[in-house]
């Protein structure tokens, strides 16, 4: 673990890929030119076995991003101390260049619900999320990135705009933001917002990583177009264009291709990263922007 022992706390400004068990062997045999790999934290919280063996080998070759999906930062209930301990153990072991989580909740008294659920944006929920991000950063001893959600409904009690909410969490906790461009498209279409102005209003100087993924499409109860954040296909053309627009504001940023369902062969996945890398290379460096850690 010589390389992971003194990692810098920054991912390269390149395209990365989600690491999938079906690709472990191919990656180690072919050592493809990929900017970084990202794993879901919870998939590496087992005691031992092949997942850790492979992740150690791959983390020695590539920069690593750990992306949590189960901390439930947007829950009203307190964070799960046991889960925070598991996260700290994982982060201490692999020393990833980035740790990120979601503005969502997933744990309830009935158990873990295995979905990223939405929360209203109010003064009360903002205070709770700020506490939870503070607590997480203290436990991990490092700043985290918080990801904008994709949502299918709104709360009438919301009094704070989503971007203002995220910006407030970032400024109050010092956390960075993860800009999921696919989530922007999904939420914008679902809530009749303009995705370009969402990007234009986003506090881009706090963004430490971008996510891209493919959405699915259906219609809602009134016959309106409804996008589903499905992660089961290539990045859609309109999201590619929105990504290009984001880069025009931010300059190149670490950019992850998420493809979690119907995972294709590695070559197909890698082609997505190569396309994103070309766009990152073409993006003008954005001088004078202070980047969140």
């Amino acid at each position: 673990m010589s390389i992971t022992a003194d990692r810098a706390l920054a991912l390269p400004q390149r395209a990365g890929l989600g690491l999938k068990p079906e690709h472990y062997a191919t990656i180690l045999a072919d050592r493809p030119d990929v900017g970084f790999f990202e794993v879901h934290a919870e998939n590496y919280m087992g005691a031992g076995g092949p997942p850790h063996r492979y992740l150690e080998a791959i983390a020695d070759l590539y920069p690593l991003s750990v992306h949590g999906v189960g901390l439930s930062i947007g829950a009203a209930r307190p964070l799960d101390r046991e889960h925070l301990k598991r996260l700290r153990l994982l982060v201490d072991r692999y020393r990833p260049q980035s740790f990120s989580e979601h503005l969502a909740w997933s744990t309830h008294d009935s158990g873990f619900l295995n979905d990223l659920l939405p929360l209203p944006y109010t003064a009360e929920t903002l205070a709770r999320v700020i506490d939870h991000v503070d607590e997480t950063q203290q436990w991990l001893g490092r700043p985290m990135l918080l990801e904008n959600p994709s949502t299918y409904l709104l709360f009438s009690e919301s009094t704070i705009d989503e971007i203002d909410f995220l910006a407030a969490v970032a400024s109050r906790t010092g956390c960075g933001l993860l800009l999921d461009v696919n989530n922007v498209m999904v939420s914008a279409v679902n809530h009749r917002l303009d995705p370009v102005s969402y990007i234009d209003r986003f506090p881009i100087e706090r963004v430490g990583e971008i996510h891209l993924a493919g959405y699915d499409e259906t219609i809602d109860g009134a016959g309106d177009r409804l996008l589903i954040d499905a992660h089961g296909s290539a990045v859609r053309a309109d999201v590619v264009e929105l990504f290009r627009h984001s880069l025009s504001r931010s300059g190149p940023l670490p950019t992850l291709i998420e493809w979690d369902n119907d995972v294709p062969d590695f070559a197909t996945l890698h082609a997505e990263a190569i396309r994103a890398d070309a766009m990152l290379s073409a993006a003008a460096p954005h001088g004078g922007v202070i980047r969140a850690a």
């Binding site: 068990p21 062997a25 979905d115 998420e258």
Partner: protein, 95 residues
């Protein structure tokens, strides 16, 4: 069998079994498994692709929620699987 007879029998049985493996030099850990071909019946294994459920941060457009109405009957390989005269669907008659 009394305890000392048992101890003698076990020690003798173990000694002869170890003697029959003694030709083998100390085994590297990765070689150890599968070396004892004679013991038990080794079954074809799964690979890492079968790692089991992982997490997701994605939703699904597969609409599958139908409440708890129960209609289905087993209709997979248990129906067709032939186990030496038994159909896989049926529990064997206990004697």
């Amino acid at each position: 069998m009394n305890r000392s007879t048992l101890t003698l029998a076990l020690a003798g049985s173990l000694a002869s079994a170890i003697a029959s493996t003694a030709f083998a030099a100390p085994l590297a850990p990765e070689k150890m498994v599968g070396n004892e071909k004679c013991y038990g019946i080794a079954l074809k294994g799964q690979n890492d692709c079968a790692a089991g459920p992982g997490t997701t941060c994605a939703g699904t457009s597969t609409m599958d929620y139908q409440g708890n109405a129960w209609k289905a009957v087993p209709a997979g390989t248990c129906v067709s699987m032939n186990v030496n005269g038994h159909k896989g669907m049926l529990a064997p008659v206990k004697s």
